[in-house]
């Protein structure tokens, strides 16, 4: 059992998401930085899709009521055990009565806490992930609150010891300026050539409206090519006939303030989606804070598949190092 002394700003139970229900309008939820969650799970000997805690900007204060192993990965929100600094990206041992707390965030935006065995909450549609907008998954469908108690599951896991680490070069670094790779489309044809160029050359600033649903940016006004309003589309130039929104797709309602749709977002609608963040860089988006700068870098499908393969190789390397 883990007792929540302070919940942090927004701490939720997440696994790798509620996959396979997108067509009925159910977004996947799940860890926004999947690499970090997977590595934290591997460090404590869990299956990589076990449920852990996603910690946003400000860490919780948690009391462990049994001896166990934990690992904290992702954005640098420096952990402390009984007020003593503890390492990230390594297997830590905690004893019954130990209190885990966190310092102010140093870099990145989200840290992930894995506990040996995983967090035990009911599976809803095949996942333990919290989807707060409709209140399902996780702990009662919401972020953690003071005095909550989290049960620890005994999901299949291998025996590991404290002190295990991964190589330094497998640990991502997060700065305040972020290059996020995108594949242009599905509706980039709606932008003028000038706006298409400007979309890629602008340093977009992340507004305070940036959460698990989506990130809203400020930086430039986008113009659309003239057209006759198609059947079924809204009258604004940024409207198209309703379509499915890819996860990571970037829409620009009214040509101002693009929004990148993320894990808890609406699954379809009638706004132009001018580009889609490649899957590996969704992990990096998870580590972008409000106020930071993002540049979108256009790549083709081949390059995005290469990035995905590199990510897979990295995880294979980590599995090998920890075996």
């Amino acid at each position: 059992m883990i007792k929540v002394i302070q919940p942090g700003l927004q701490t939720t139970v997440q696994d790798l998401g509620r996959i396979g229900h997108y067509e009925v309008g159910m977004p996947p939820s799940g860890a926004m930085d999947t690499y970090a969650l997977k590595v934290s799970n591997l460090l404590v000997g869990n299956d990589e899709d076990a449920a852990g805690l996603e910690i946003t900007y400000m860490g919780p204060k948690l009391k462990f009521e049994a001896d166990t192993l934990i690992a904290i990965t992702g954005g640098e929100i420096p952990p402390k055990i009984n007020d003593e600094p503890a390492g990230m990206w390594e297997t830590l041992s905690v004893k019954a009565g130990d209190v885990l707390s966190f310092d102010f965030v140093k870099s990145g935006a989200r840290a992930y806490l894995a506990v040996q065995g995983g967090i035990d909450v009911p599976e809803i549609m095949g996942s333990r992930s919290t989807y707060t907008l409709i209140g399902i998954g996780g702990l009662e469908g919401r972020a953690l609150k003071e005095d909550d108690e989290l049960k620890i599951a005994s999901d299949k896991n291998v025996n590991v010891k404290a002190g295990r680490k991964i190589d330094e070069d497998l640990i991502p670094k997060y700065s305040k300026e972020h290059d996020i790779r995108v594949v242009m489309g599905l509706c980039s044809y709606r932008l003028t050539e000038e706006s298409k160029d400007e979309f890629l050359s602008t340093e977009w600033q992340v507004t305070p409206d940036a959460n698990r649903v989506g990130y809203r940016f400020k930086g430039a006004k986008m113009d659309f090519v003239e057209r006759e309003q198609p059947f079924g589309a809204g009258s604004d130039p940024s409207n198209v006939t309703d379509q499915g929104y890819p996860i990571g797709s970037i829409q620009i309602p009214g040509g101002i303030e693009p929004i990148a749709l993320l894990n808890d977002a609406v699954t379809g609608g009638g706004y132009v989606t001018v580009a889609t963040i490649i899957s590996t860089d969704l992990d990096r988006m998870a580590q972008v804070k409000s106020g930071e700068k993002v540049k979108f870098v256009a790549v083709d499908i081949e390059e995005s598949l290469k990035a995905r393969k590199e990510m897979k190789d990295k995880l294979d390397e980590i599995r090998k190092q920890l075996a």
Binding site: L9, Y57, M58, F104, V105, K106, P208, D209, K289, S290
Partner: protein
Amino acid sequence: MMSNSIKVMAPIPGVFYRRPSPDEDVYVNEGDEVKEGDIIGLVEVMKSFHELKAEASGVIDAFKVEDEGMLEAGQEIAVINQK
């Protein structure tokens, strides 16, 4: 007597507000006395408001961020002079 100054830092990024709502007065002015735990401002991020509390009792020496200014995590917001 020497006074000790305490910096109030932003624990999270977001927009800094010195008032509880647009038509209300500021929580505290520079020169005002505050007690540890008093609310001195709000930070808005992810569509929620986080209360900023004085970390020590004393007098607000200065605010280092403008009302409705953008904060970075770890940024200095105010200085409190302890008596």
